[in-house]
Symmetry: C2
Subunit: 266 residues, 2 copies
DNA sequence: AAGTGGTCTAGACCACAAA
DNA sequence: TTGTGGTCTAGACCACTTG
């Protein structure tokens, strides 16, 4: 049977009290980045609770990005993220301002000057993950934005890899007349470069937008993060030289990993 | 004792199999927004697992934003979010372009034309949450960006309320010479408006940036969301007419609630 | 082999909301 | 009062990593 219920001060659950206690040890430096936390059995003894209760606290700290759990090894205080700033200058880039253009597009592609990582940046590559029919909420958004029927679109999913690690998950909705981009990708390495150099398109932005989501199963698997991790989303519509919309793109990045910066003036 | 271990296909945990099964029922429309899910005991019977296992699945779906759990009542398929688009036009606003200025600042303040909610927008208000010493990671960032010692700064925390609901959590780092803004806030309602109209400052952007974080305990409480919810962050430095940096601000919004849009060209 | 985290069970008691 | 979700326990077995 259950046990004598412990008095809970202020109705705050035990696991939350343990989590905030550990959180404060991290905030005030009692536990430092890289430090190994006591094991779950040890914490259970220290706080005089069941191991499952202490585990609930630790998993919450993991979701907050405060600790990193390594199966079979232990739990460690998380290190500050390896932040990459993707910088754009405002006023808007002319269509031929490649550096700014690429920076806003969210890839480097030879313009590493606009990427300011805290560690040296290695090569970014983009690999195809899937080519599928357009459908669902974003497929319908794409059809609306591009002014074509849903059936005239296809979806291209890719993953950008930086320093060997999955960095950005991209989904493009293209009109079928651009299906050639899939074949041509190998030559130019990146989708935007392929459109520009391979297919000769002169691209410019219609709009770009920023939002945030919790990683779903698909995104979590591709980015190798826990389900529900906070992701930064940058979606938008790109047009050709005549101003006609060409494709809709939706990029998802680990929120603690990258930052889009808009600099104003000179 | 434990039971005969169930065969786990492909090593996928039971709770994950249940979660993805329910996820698909939601995606394919078997369960529709607003529908009530079967109760935890019912699901436990259906899937022939312990209630705690089914609960682990449901909580995961809650973190994905797929369901909404109402204590004492039941669990419901989440409705599409009440999205507000905050729109700015590029090239950059002149300092006197109030509408665009306010849109980028992330508040309405009489320029509701630039806010396009899916439902009618009610009044936005900003209330003071706390005034504290500057410290920590962002305090140090602010001191660096503003070029003043940490001790010369103070921090102002506010919450913007829209339609009666907490919408944006703001943290401002100001030089102490601007402490008057706290007293003057009541008259003008919003911090930026107070700086402009009350203190006569002519403000413009140095930079703005977008990132994403998981809601910590403080943010989760103020926004009334679960700990770890994905938040969109927009931080930046604002300068005076002479181009000298004045303050650093960091705004956090529910990621499923708002979207910053940059429109290019006319 | 030993220790770590990951999953699952059975059972209990609680807080909350609606009837 | 009934049923819902929220928390907690004791115990078990598992997968993984490191000596």
């Amino acid at each position: 049977m259950g046990h004598a219920p412990r008095t809970r001060q202020g109705g705050i659950p035990l696991y939350r009290r343990i989590a905030t206690e550990l959180w404060e040890r991290i905030q005030n430096g009692t536990l430092r980045p890289g430090d190994r936390m006591p094991s779950e059995p040890e914490l259970a003894t220290e706080f005089e609770v069941n191991r499952l209760t202490v585990r609930q606290a630790i998993v919450e700290l993991q979701r907050l990005g405060a600790v990193e759990i390594r199966r079979g090894t232990g739990t460690f205080v998380a290190a500050p993220p390896d932040l990459v700033e993707i910088i754009a200058r405002i006023p808007a880039p002319a269509p031929d301002d490649d550096a700014t253009h690429a920076a806003l597009a969210g890839h480097s592609d030879g313009v590493v000057e606009t990427l300011l990582p805290t560690r040296p940046l290695l090569r970014v590559e983009e690999r195809i993950e899937a080519v599928t029919e357009a459908s669902g909420r974003y497929g319908e958004l794409a059809a609306r934005e591009l002014g074509v029927p849903l059936a005239d679109l296809f979806r291209l999913d890719t993953v950008m890899v930086r320093s060997g690690q999955a960095w950005i998950v991209n989904s493009y909705w293209f009109p079928r007349r651009l299906e050639g981009v899939v074949e041509a990708l190998g030559e130019h390495g990146m989708v935007i470069a392929t459109l520009r150099d391979g297919l000769g398109l002169d691209l410019s932005y219609r709009w770009r937008a920023f939002s945030a989501v919790a990683a779903d199963y698909h995104e979590a698997r591709l980015l190798d993060v826990p389900t529900g991790t906070a992701l930064l989303v940058r979606d938008g519509v790109t047009a050709d030289a005549a101003g006609a919309p060409v494709f809709y793109v939706r990029r998802r990045l680990r929120g603690d990993n990258a930052k889009f910066v808009l600099r104003y003036g000179a």
